[in-house]
């Protein structure tokens, strides 16, 4: 055993981009860039794209909390997005409640839904869990499609409020306020993830992702922590749902409860790299412009050619970079473990 000690690793000797001051400096520069973005690139197309990238960063970060850190692959997150969007929209349309209050109400509704979905399904693992979340998502989609009071399959057109005031959460003269609102939301998700990563809950989630039995043997109440992660994730996703409703001013079951939406939230996080803060942001920065540009260049001819390309790209990425884009960097930053010693039985005798 002594043979390994001389190979002990000096932990902080990674490549330059792992140094703390580089990361912090880069983060601050990125923040300044993001704050100035609407004025550096005033074209509406780019502004819209930036808003979408930030919205999807928020959604990817939210999904990442339960799916990345907790390892529970949910393909039903559209439920929380849809509930966020519908709650604030119905409150606004029926009772003229401010969308900001509606956002809080939507987050609360989504949190309750997270508990209701999580409680039965968190006993399932792997594909069983994924299929169960799809089933839960479809139940909500069908119910909302047929719930006439909530607009049925047609959905809800949000009442327009002129005046472009922050309290109204609607802006018609310029879209710039939307940009800053969603930027704050995405930063909130970053802050939540940052805090989580360093807390007991963050460690517990990573532990139960790796091995549930081992985690339990160390006193980790796994279902409780999965539920905590699911609720946090649902609340952030619902906030994104309200933002979407206020930005687009029209929602329908087919747009906010769609399975494709759930899948794309997961895809953004997976593409960038699971269980990291940068992952979902990088994922959104790559995937959303890719989708938008293919839509602009190929979508004009109608018929969904851009989605053909989009699908093909997803296949190619999962074949060639299954660990996500962050995996490209990380492969070289983590200290390498000592070489394996020759042992008679690798895993012990089962």
């Amino acid at each position: 055993m002594q043979s390994v000690s001389r190979q002990g690793q000096e932990p902080r000797s990674g490549p330059w981009w792992t140094r703390r001051w580089v990361q912090w400096g880069g983060g601050i520069l990125l923040l300044i860039f993001l704050l100035l973005f609407p004025y550096l690139f005033p074209r509406p197309f780019l502004r819209r794209m930036a808003i979408l990238v930030l919205l999807w960063s928020l959604l990817g970060l939210a999904w990442n909390i339960i799916g990345g850190y907790g390892g529970q692959v949910s393909l039903g997150h559209a439920v929380f997005f849809g509930l966020g969007a519908y709650t604030s929209s119905i409150l606004l349309e029926r009772w003229q409640v401010s969308p900001w209050l509606g956002m809080l109400a939507g987050a609360a509704v989504a949190a309750i839904a997270a508990l209701l979905i999580g409680w039965p399904t968190f006993r399932l693992q792997g594909h069983y869990f994924a299929i169960a979340t799809i089933a839960a998502g479809e139940i909500f989609a069908i119910l909302f499609r047929n719930w006439e009071w909530a607009g049925g399959a047609v959905g809800i057109y949000l009442p327009l409020i002129r005046g472009d005031q922050l309290v109204n959460f609607q802006f018609h003269e310029t879209k710039v306020p939307y940009y800053y609102i969603v930027l704050v939301m995405a930063l909130l998700a970053v802050a939540v993830t940052y805090a989580l990563e360093r807390s007991r809950a963050g460690y517990y989630l990573r532990a139960l992702r790796a091995d549930q039995d081992a985690a339990r043997s160390l006193g980790v109440p796994i279902t409780r922590y999965k539920l905590i992660a699911m609720v946090i994730s649902a609340v952030l996703t619902a906030i994104g749902g309200t933002f979407y409703a206020q930005f687009v001013l029209y929602i329908s079951p087919n747009t906010v409860f769609a399975l494709m939406l759930s899948v794309q939230m997961c895809l953004v996080a997976v593409l960038g790299g699971l269980g990291t803060i940068a992952g979902p942001i990088i994922g959104a920065m790559v995937l959303i412009p890719m989708a938008e540009y293919t839509r602009v260049f190929l979508g004009g001819r109608g018929g969904g050619l851009h989605l053909v390309v989009y699908g093909l790209l997803i296949v190619i990425i999962s074949v060639f970079q299954p660990a996500g884009l962050v995996g490209l960097l990380r492969r070289r930053t983590r200290p390498t473990p000592p070489p394996a010693m020759p042992t008679p039985a690798e895993e012990g005798i089962a």
């Binding site: 055993m1 390994v4 000690s5 002990g8 690793q9 932990p11 360093r198 807390s199 007991r200 460690y203 517990y204 990573r206 532990a207 790796a210 091995d211 039995d213 081992a214 985690a215 339990r216 043997s217 160390l218 006193g219 980790v220 109440p221 796994i222 983590r334 200290p335 390498t336 473990p337 000592p338 394996a340 010693m341 042992t343 008679p344 039985a345 690798e346 895993e347 012990g348 005798i349 089962a350």
Partner: protein, 245 residues
């Protein structure tokens, strides 16, 4: 009452009786070996005590409290920690982070958990590997890491499930020394081993399981001479030799 007791503990899988009415006592400060041929029900017994299986009959008492059917996490909180026969390290966490997961049980604040985990790494001789990812460690280190992780929960009783299996003779010696040191520091330890030779010099008392039943419970010297124990092990040896030709 003893520190840990089982009364008539029985566990069945379908028609197979893995544990049959096991009465077991463990006193504070003991170092007990639990041995038996393959398939004798040692790991099942472990799983019943540590909450991974719910026994079909019988009860488990820990410090006088009935803990039968408690969840593993609750058992751990009560003060019983365990390791696994097939190591279950958190592969993509570092060695320090692995141990911190255990330390968080009694130290909810990250800084305190880290400090405690570092102290545990020190006593288990893993400090130099603190920032290495656990998944790439050789088996001997992963077993030791699992021990460290369990220690970090500050247990009163430690159940080690085949902590020496798969190690080479030098590594076994180190592991034996570490177990002895922990015991001398006051920890109560139950050592499950398939290989008798590892347990005999270490344990004060040896309990032998065969076909799910306790067939001997005595000092290592007397157990080694017990004809039923010899028969159980010889039977296994003959069976193995017959199988391997």
């Amino acid at each position: 009452m003893s520190l840990l007791e089982t009364h008539g503990l029985t566990k069945r899988f379908g028609g197979l009786v893995a544990n049959q009415a096991i009465d077991f006592r463990l006193e504070k400060g003991e170092l007990v070996g639990l041995i038996g041929p393959n398939g004798a029900g040692k790991t099942t017994f472990f799983n019943c005590i540590t909450g991974f299986y719910r026994p079909d009959e019988g009860r488990v008492f820990f410090r006088g409290r009935d803990v039968t059917g408690w969840s593993p996490e609750r058992i751990c909180r009560a003060g019983i920690a365990r390791t696994f026969q097939v190591v279950k390290t958190f592969r993509d966490m570092t060695v320090l982070e692995n141990v911190m997961v255990g330390a968080f049980l009694r130290h909810p604040r990250p800084a305190a958990a880290r400090a405690h985990a570092e102290a545990v790494l020190e006593t288990t001789g893993l400090t130099h590997l603190a920032d290495v990812q656990a998944g790439g460690l050789p088996i001997a280190y992963r077993k030791r890491l699992e021990l460290a992780r369990a220690l970090a929960t500050e247990p009163e009783v430690l159940f080690l499930d085949e902590a020496m299996a798969g190690l080479n003779p030098g590594e076994i010696q180190e592991a034996v020394a570490m177990v002895r040191r922990l015991w001398e520091q006051g920890l109560t330890i139950v050592l499950v081993e398939h290989v008798m030779e590892v347990v005999m010099p270490l344990a004060q008392r040896v309990v032998v399981l065969d076909y799910g039943q306790v067939i001997a419970d005595d000092t290592p010297e007397r157990v080694a001479k017990d004809p039923r124990v010899i028969e159980a092990y010889l039977g296994e040896r003959f069976a193995r030799e017959a199988r391997e030709g």
